[in-house]
Amino acid sequence: MQSYLYFPGCTLRTMAKDFDASAKASARALGFELKDMEGWLCCGAVFSNVNDNLMVKAGPNRILSRAQNEGNTLTTLCAGCYNVLKRTTFHAAHTPESQQAINTFNEETFNGGVEVLHFLEVLRDRVGFDAVEKAVRTPLKGLPVGAYYGCLLLRPPGEMKLDDPNRPSVMEDLFTRLGCTPIDYPARTQCCGSYLSVSSPEHSEPLARDIMRSARNSGARLLAVSCPLCKYNLETSHDGAAATTGDEEYLPIVYFTQLLGLALGLDPQQLQLDAHQMQRIREAQAPGVL
Amino acid sequence: MATNFEPKIVGFLCRWCSYAGADLAGTNRMKYPSNISSIRVNCSGRIDPTLVMKALALGADGVLIAGCHPGDCHYTNGNIKTLRRFKLLQKMFDQFGIERERVRLEWISAAEGDRYAQVVRSMTEQVRSLGPLNWKNRVELTA
């Protein structure tokens, strides 16, 4: 079976097990596997605020130098990990002198020889959406899902090159193939507030709320994300929002891999979708399909 | 190698970029070793590999060819032609056993006085540590 070297990242083994599980299950259903890399460690995302620019890169460089022993691509799910690792490869290739310093520090050599892929890229560029569409067993007919990209998947565009930073379409294209009716809404590439939700929620919360609103106003009944932190910020904000605006309408948030899994006909439990979420999805969707 | 050895380096400088760059180094009073003497040519493309060989055969310890950065050539792309000849010459000099540090091709713009000084410094040191080339005697001795 075709297999892709895979970097899980901390959150996917703790808070976002469902993301990890649904992705692996869907992958298998599509005839390939996500093979955990040896000796992975934290991508370093949470250190991105320390002021030593090189130290930040030490971690990710270790990961990549190890990955390159196992293959020439490394697939990620979490938008944060993807951003950190992909940018690390970029800098490794474009700033040789500082890379030298890092390699010396790490005592492991990495010079950009690994292509970092996001699971979406694997589906779009390697497997191909046509193949995905063929594999769909239970199309999610008419599901009005809003794709939420946030920043990390797309920016900085020069380095990430996943999709158009302002008008991305990769998730929408995928959802169309799954039978959904993707909803375009302005805020889908806006920032969710990221780590501000830890340090100063009062700043991040409104950002997240705007996104929820924007999605809802444009007719989305469900949000699909590719980042645990985004998911957390959006979900937590909703409660705040509900409290402050008295708006009870709940906008469920799932990982795009979970929708993929459903469409591929996998068992919700496999995708770690609880009954509550499933009901939301059913409600959101035109009745009588699932 | 004898540390008191003073290498003789011949510099072929293109008139529009590198020679002007060398002049700029002077105007800015940047210091560099006096081992290099420059010959002003219109374009680095004027430099025929045989001239470089002859320079070494006559007793030069090193040869520097300097021209405009690619794309900046005053004669559209003379420097690219230099690069073509240099690449093949370098390959042959490897065979002759002439160290690459002895024969260098550098792009130095009219604004890069500091770079010229830098190149001359590093090249002088490298050639000094390689020691005299002394080609004439070398040929005679191994007779």
């Binding site: 302005p186 | 040519v41 001239l51 559209t76």
Partner: protein, 676 residues
């Protein structure tokens, strides 16, 4: 090793052939102190004394300031008194005073090429501290110069004839101005324009900053003058096909599409357009309106006649429709000939002025601003058309979407500009000004409206510019916000502009009826192809490169090619016109004499050595080399040769050489270096 003539040969032999016969010149060496600049580090006397010992040197002397009047006199007099044939000046870089001293040598009756400079300042005294070493190196420099000058040949400048005519490419304001200046000076001008009329971008503008006078009103008369001028031959619908030759002697081929309408007969009655079934977006209105396939570009177009664009006509070969012709024959002056063919014109000119102008950066690339997703998001030039009395709304400001009068309008400056990563890295220079004007015009036309201008900083360098912008900023109902727009999007039917006001530090969201993007200027699409035909270089952005950014901004590095207008770099009208007149006067300078002189230090072929292998021919960037059809060996066109010498390096038989920089001379200099 073949020069010795011993051996036991019995027959009488003529002297050795391979002995290189060094001309015995009486060389004089002059060493300059340059105050202490040289003498402070270099032992001038030693340099003089050692120079005296060199073969061929009959005289050597030093002087405090050789470039001074007495210094030059010393050189001149010594040449006479000492009967010198050649002179070496050991002083500053040849870049400084080579010409000065060559003139001195010349005035003393010697050929100017019997003078060589030894650079003992910029590459001697100034870069070395150690006096001994600096002196030794200066001596080497002097020896090099001596060896070279001994082998220099006396040369006369090459004179080539000048065809006293000018080709102007591009019929915008730059082209028109340049053409008129040359024509008024009494020389013929060929003015080549690709579209159906001259006028260019300026004709599309409604007003001009900072004076707010009507653009076409000031341009129109010039267009007519250029069209009527006896010395100007206008080729509209034309394209430069080929340019051969060199400065003073260009051979130009121009291909002209037929207008299919007889200009002399057409009275612009418009019957033809009425019946024409083919409708296409009107480029003059930036596609905001439609035009027929047979049309007049705009009211003031010259010549004032209809023109048929064959690309959009339903078909000429075979004739598919022909309605226009029928109508014209019936109601009009029967001036339409659908069987016309393109014409090819060939002519000779001495100088070429490239005034190819600009186009707008493709706004659809700026996805964050949503251009193309909503009709009310428009470019500045589209808005310009809307402001124009001759525009789609006859000057009224209406939302393209539904035609209602906008109340809130947002102008975004630097749209996709000064953005190395996603757009243009450079500033287009004019946007601050026209945006201010746009905002002001909006406010005049919609007094109760509100305009917002997002800007990074205001660049209003120019006569009366700053004052103009200030005036706009002070208008009420006009708000300048310092910051960039993050996103323009449509939410529940309303355009929303989301940006930041960096002065208040707050993000702002504005619901706008119209969003105007000040997109940047890029070189017009044809300029790349044209540049390669002209062998003129372009800069990294595709604008025409100048010979020197400060000192030769009107000339291309390629001799005989001059540049004017926005094809050279983003410019406003005054700068464009100034550069156009400048380029014209440069061309006139060239035309002012029937011949021109060129450096004679060019390549030459020794015919009997050349085997015509042809290696050198593609090497020459100026097509100065060719194989003679008669002798089958290479020959150099001295007029075309720029003297770079790259062909010499490529010649396998040593048949090519560069005058006054021969292999012998270079090797003599090398020996001077290594032998000492």
């Amino acid at each position: 090793m073949l020069t010795r003539c011993k051996g036991f040969a019995k027959h009488k032999r003529q002297e050795c052939c391979e002995m290189s016969t060094t001309p015995t010149k009486r060389v004089g060496v002059f060493v300059c102190h340059c105050g202490l600049n040289i003498a402070g580090t270099v032992n001038v006397n030693e340099v003089v004394e050692r120079a005296k010992k060199q073969k061929g040197v009959v005289f050597a002397v030093d002087h405090k300031y050789l470039c001074s009047e007495p210094g030059q006199a010393l050189v001149k007099d010594s040449i006479k008194q000492q009967h010198l044939d050649a002179v070496v000046i050991a002083a500053c870089s040849p870049a400084m005073h080579e010409t000065t001293f060559k003139n001195v040598v010349h005035s003393a009756g010697l050929n100017r090429y019997n003078c060589e400079i030894a650079n003992i300042r910029e590459q001697g005294s100034w870069v070395h501290d150690d006096h001994e070493k600096a002196t030794a190196k200066s001596h080497i420099a002097v020896r090099q110069a001596i060896e070279k000058v001994k082998l220099n040949e006396a040369l006369q400048p090459i004179t080539v004839p000048v065809t006293r005519r000018v080709l102007v490419i591009g019929g915008g304001i730059a082209g028109i101005r340049a053409a008129l200046d040359v024509a008024n000076a009494g020389y013929e001008v060929y003015l080549v324009e690709k579209s159906g009329t001259i006028g260019g971008r300026m004709a599309q503008l409604s007003e001009t900053f900072p004076t707010l006078d009507c653009s076409t009103c000031i341009l129109g008369p010039l267009m007519v003058e250029a069209y009527r001028h006896p010395n100007i031959k206008l080729f509209r619908l034309s394209k430069v096909e080929e340019v051969k030759g060199y400065i003073g002697n260009f051979k130009v081929t121009v291909r002209q599409e037929p207008p299919y309408v007889d200009v002399a007969k057409c009275n612009a009655c418009g019957e033809c357009a009425k019946v024409c079934p083919a409708e296409v977006p009107n480029e003059f209105d930036m596609g905001l309106t439609w035009r027929k396939a047979i049309y007049t570009p705009f009211a003031q177009a010259v010549p004032p006649a209809y023109v048929l664009d064959s690309k959009n006509c339903l078909g000429l070969l075979p004739q598919a429709c022909g309605e226009c012709k029928k109508a014209c024959d019936k109601f009009g002056t029967s001036c339409i000939n659908l069987d016309a063919w393109p014409q090819v014109h060939e002519f000779e000119v001495g100088a070429i002025i490239a005034a190819t102008g600009y186009e707008l950066y493709d706004a659809t690339k700026l996805t964050e601003y949503g251009y193309g997703t909503h009709p009310d998001i428009m470019t500045s030039l589209e808005f310009e058309r809307m402001l124009s009395a001759s525009g789609p709304t006859s000057g009224e400001i209406r939302c393209p979407s539904d035609g209602h009068t906008p109340k809130e309008i947002v102008f975004i400056q630097c749209a996709g500009q000064r953005e190395p990563e996603t757009g243009l890295p450079y500033c287009s220079k004019i946007c601050c000004m026209y945006t201010a004007r746009h905002a002001m015009m909006f406010h005049h036309k919609v007094p109760d409206g509100q305009a917002y201008v997002f800007y990074m900083d205001i660049r209003a360098g120019g006569k009366g510019y700053e004052e103009f912008v200030k005036r706009c900023q002070e208008e009420k109902g006009l708000l300048y916000l310092r910051g960039r727009v993050a996103k323009v999007f449509e939410e529940n039917g309303k355009l929303t502009v989301k940006g930041v006001d960096t002065l208040s530090g707050k993000t702002v969201e504005i619901n706008a009826d119209i969003v105007v993007l000040a997109v940047g200027m890029i070189p017009s699409s044809g300029s790349h192809e044209l540049a390669s035909k002209l062998k003129a270089s372009l800069d990294v952005y595709g604008f025409f490169a100048e010979a020197h950014p400060k000192l030769r901004p009107l000339e291309s590095p390629t001799a005989g090619i001059y540049i004017a207008g926005a094809g050279h770099a983003p410019k406003d009208i005054p700068d464009t016109v100034a550069q156009a007149s400048g380029a014209a006067s440069k061309a006139l300078d060239l035309l002012s004499s029937p011949t021109l002189e060129r450096e004679p230090t060019v390549a030459k072929v020794t015919g009997e050595l050349c085997s015509g292998c042809g290696i050198c021919i593609p090497i020459c960037p100026y097509t100065a080399l060719g194989l003679s059809p008669t002798t089958k060996v290479a020959e150099v066109s001295a007029a075309l040769c720029e003297g770079c010498g790259t062909c010499i390096a490529s010649c396998p038989s040593g048949a090519l050489s560069l005058r006054n920089l021969t292999d012998e001379q270079i090797l003599a200099m090398v020996e001077a270096i290594v032998a000492s």
